[in-house]
Amino acid sequence: MSDQNINQNDSGQINSYRRKFLAGLAGITAVVTVAPGILLRQVQAKPAGDAVTSKVRWGMLIDTNKLSDGGDACIAACKKEHGWGDEKLSRTAQDAQWIRKVKVTEKLTQHVTELPVMCQHCETAPCVDVCPTGASFKRDDGIVLVDKHICIGCRYCMMACPYKARSFIHETLIDQRPDTPRGKGTVESCNMCVNRVDAGKKPACVEAAPQAMLFGDLNDPKSDISKALKQFGGTQIRADLGLNTGVRYWGI
């Protein structure tokens, strides 16, 4: 009787392993059939245990002419993804600035351009140069991040950033998003949705405005973003600084 029980347990265990294995297989085939070619090459999820490599450089291309709302949808998506913009005790000047809308009017023609501006993920980032603790750093795949574990909140990087992309958290926060830890006394900025990118997804803003934004690997000449940039070029904001930004624009 006891032998039978053990056998049953064993077979149950094997079944559960088999089920997981089959589920994994089904997942793989689903990806292959749903996204033939393009998606697989564009944003490929690396295995969770692997480190990021410098073979990849993530970048973004924003067509401001196709952003009919000037990027409001992107900003809303970013707020929802990362849970910022609800700092009750902070003054307007202290508000979080992961991504913001910038309006430029040409004096002569009165032509208005609206563009979303966030961390430009520079190749030679000034914020990384000035950080005294190494908290501001560039990942091998080109994403510029703040390691809040070692950020001391000196705000030197905020001074150094030519794009005014960083902000400081002035108040105690609760109920953060699970994938976006944020806390008082640290600096934060756009992280190119690093949690989503590592999972093989696109950043939230790109998903919110797919008609106007491209996300992909700038090092891969076959990616959509590289092809588009090769054919039509792309503008860097403050290109004179020579920072080789990962975010490029059309229509500005």
Binding site: A48, A51, A73, P181
Partner: protein
Amino acid sequence: MFRKFLSVASLGVILISLLGISGCQSKPLEIAKATKGFDTQEQLDAHVKNIRKDHMDRLMHKRDQTMHKGIRTPENSLKACINCHVPEPTESKVVRYTDPEHFCATCHNYVSVQLDCFQCHTDHPDKPAVATATQTPTTAHDMKVAIKHSSTEAAAQ
């Protein structure tokens, strides 16, 4: 002889009082139950043994690998710990790390070790109901419609 008796008696008194003190706190702490189970008892035993001894190392050292190298193995994920060991928020109660019944707080309070993780990380699983309540339109089309409405309203006023 009397002196000997006195020393033996005082030793006895000290022993009994020491036993009494240790006896007061001998009951193991009651910690919150995990929501998910393991397939086998061996897996559970290995998990408990490992985490009791090494959780701080895993959280402290693997965090740098996650942050700087993008290595996100599920077994070293703080989010995974929280999702399994802290109850989901309900309408009436959100268990936070400042509450004594919070899984991490139970032992940390007992040994007076400060919990710093939750100054930045969330201390409870994401609540689906809250996420949908504050949901904004997701597609670009929805957003455009919403913005158009608000701008036309502003123009009308």
